[in-house]
Symmetry: C2
Subunit: 381 residues, 2 copies
């Protein structure tokens, strides 16, 4: 399916480089041809983590997959291990939104005792962003890597690499992939145009390569599970098509929704700093952003008390759902307090700001410590 | 100019991947927009090598250039040095035809005391040839590198590298180049199609990168001179367009004609082994190929003696001109003996076979010795 098809059919756009419009995730699953995570799969996952479900699964932040059931079959029946592969395009500072798949990956690493390959696509960001120099992306790469490490991965089981530093390891696999992908295919999947540069046209091959690295490094077929936001799915579609032609297992994936921005609609994006919380934001800055968040509340406190709030359009409420209120009962109370007007937006946001600041403090502490151990994680040619 | 334009206008095809039809070199110079090497330039080159002209220049095997005069200006006036850059696509064994630009490059290295960057484009050949595996091109790469070393380059001033082994050094420059080249441009220059694979579409950026490596390694602008067969010119056109945008000097080039095959028409090509002499051919094999060469002679010895030969269409005569008879007077005698019918093809070819075998013996001896010193030349990441 071409990116354009999705756009026309669904009234929103989801490509690796653009997410816009109001995303209908049910439609997206059908358009992309992925599989919704159903109750049965949730039960299986629950068993692997002592009967509790990760909050991101419980709240359906991770909602779709490809072949996760197949991986679990092998793991459960024959103890067949799989590796994890995820990444980040270092085009700016890290936001809380970026942390979501990494936190989830940390849970997967712990649960399945899995090796993690973490790709920092400095080349992609340099190639796709007009104003960005190689020096810029290298600086962002180093900065972003600290946030990855701060998520708590096991240094013995984690390889973090920047493409430009690890290209010798990736390149032979990348050109093997590239040989199997025509310009027509890449154009259809990614919406390349005649004025796309020849570097970004090649890039899907670089992005696919780490999916096959565990098999190459271990000298036997080791499938990967890719936790990522669903906009990255086109890359894995390509990798899945090519895998059997190169004798590798097809990569599996588990997809998240987009963490909303603090504005009205859209995903949290580092390119709109005022509605995004960066991991390095000071308490003051973060608090201010939360207090300015779009809540969809009434114009005045009096009206809010009378008419009640609108949690389904409120970005603050989404943050409680996805990250900051794990207790279902408490979330239920919060929702009804809002709807009834008993809780006004200012008080609600203040509560969220406290939790965001606590989260940031803890993350920033781990991020500082990451500076001492970053070299245990980074691999270079 | 698009590859297709040249084809239509000139009745022959010259692209980096195809040379066919009877090439009109004067037309080609106009089509490609290069500059013929004139008497004035030859005089300047003569001065740099003790008043003698290299045989390949004397016989107009190297016949065209871009900006060689500009490089000589800098060299002569201000002692500005330049580097040499050439290469080989390792898709098979080395032929005598491949040695031509390398032998000329050896002369340029000695004459201008220049550093040489020699690129073995294993990635390109893997990407462009359907049946070729990465293992195949790696084997050819190692084999071909011995022939390069056997040409007698200075190990202190020569870096030979295979793309897949040196990609970390090349990659940042390659993506900087790639960012400046749209698919449209690459399509126009190289004739890419929608079914071209995305690796070969990116490859021109990899091919351009070594042209800027001397400037990067030396930390100041160092132009390169690229000795190559003229079919490679499209690559340097791209590199020349991009150079000023990246702050590098434009690469200069000096172009050779194609060494003819031993058949009737076409360039010597490793893919037609019976009309190509490989550097590793045994004396018997080489002799047989020469004796079977197309000469354009008459049907019988009696007719040949009566009507005379046709040196302008004779592949054997071309070999004397380009490689095996440096003495102008002796070449003149050979030509008139042929035209008059006094020399018959069998005797002429026997004389050529003797010289070819002597050349091969000497090359093979140096090639054996190259095995001991190859590591002094090869650079890897």
């Amino acid at each position: 399916m071409a990116a354009e098809d999705g756009e026309v059919a669904a009234g929103f756009t989801v490509t690796p480089w653009e997410v816009s419009g109001k995303v209908d995730y049910d439609k997206l699953v059908r358009l992309f041809g992925t599989t919704p995570i159903d109750k049965k799969l949730l039960e299986r996952l629950k068993k692997h983590s002592n009967g509790t479900l990760h909050p991101f699964l419980k709240r359906k932040l991770f909602f779709s997959h490809r072949d996760l059931d197949v991986l679990l079959d092998g793991f459960e029946k024959n103890g067949e291990k799989f590796a994890l592969y995820t990444g980040r395009g270092p085009s700016g500072r890290t936001t809380i939104g970026h942390l979501i798949p990494w936190m989830f990956t940390k849970y997967l690493q712990d649960t399945f005792n899995a090796e993690l390959y973490f790709q920092l696509t400095d080349d992609e960001k340099f190639l796709i962003k007009d104003g960005l120099t190689i020096e810029d992306v290298i600086a962002f790469t180093q900065d972003n890597a600290l946030d990855v490490v701060a998520c708590g991965f096991d240094p013995k089981k984690t390889r973090i690499f920047a493409d430009t530093e690890y290209i010798k390891t990736l390149y032979k696999t990348a050109i093997s992939v590239a040989k199997k992908i025509t310009f027509s295919t890449a154009k259809a999947v990614f919406g390349f145009k005649n004025d796309s540069n020849i570097g970004i046209i090649f890039f899907p091959a670089i992005q696919a390569a780490p999916a096959f690295l565990p098999s190459i490094i271990e000298g036997k077929p080791v499938p990967v599970l890719i936790p990522c936001a669903i906009d990255q799915d086109p890359y894995w579609r390509i990798a899945r098509d090519v895998a059997p032609k190169l004798g590798f297992p097809k990569p599996a994936a588990i997809h998240s929704k987009f963490i909303p921005s603090l504005g009205s609609g859209g995903k949290m994006s580092a390119s709109i700093p005022e509605t995004s919380i960066f991991t390095t934001d000071s308490e003051d800055v973060a608090r201010k952003k939360v207090m300015n968040a779009f809540s969809g509340g009434q114009a005045t406190v009096a009206e809010q008390k009378k008419l009640g709030g609108n949690p389904e359009v409120c970005s603050a409420f989404q943050y409680f759902v996805f990250l900051f209120e794990n207790d279902d009962a408490k979330l239920g109370v919060l929702e009804s307090e809002c709807r009834s007007g008993r809780m006004v937006c200012g008080d609600c946001k203040k509560m969220l700001a406290d939790r965001v600041c606590k989260f940031l403090n803890e993350h920033q502490e781990r991020r500082e410590k990451a500076k001492d151990v970053i070299n245990d994680f980074m691999v270079r040619d």
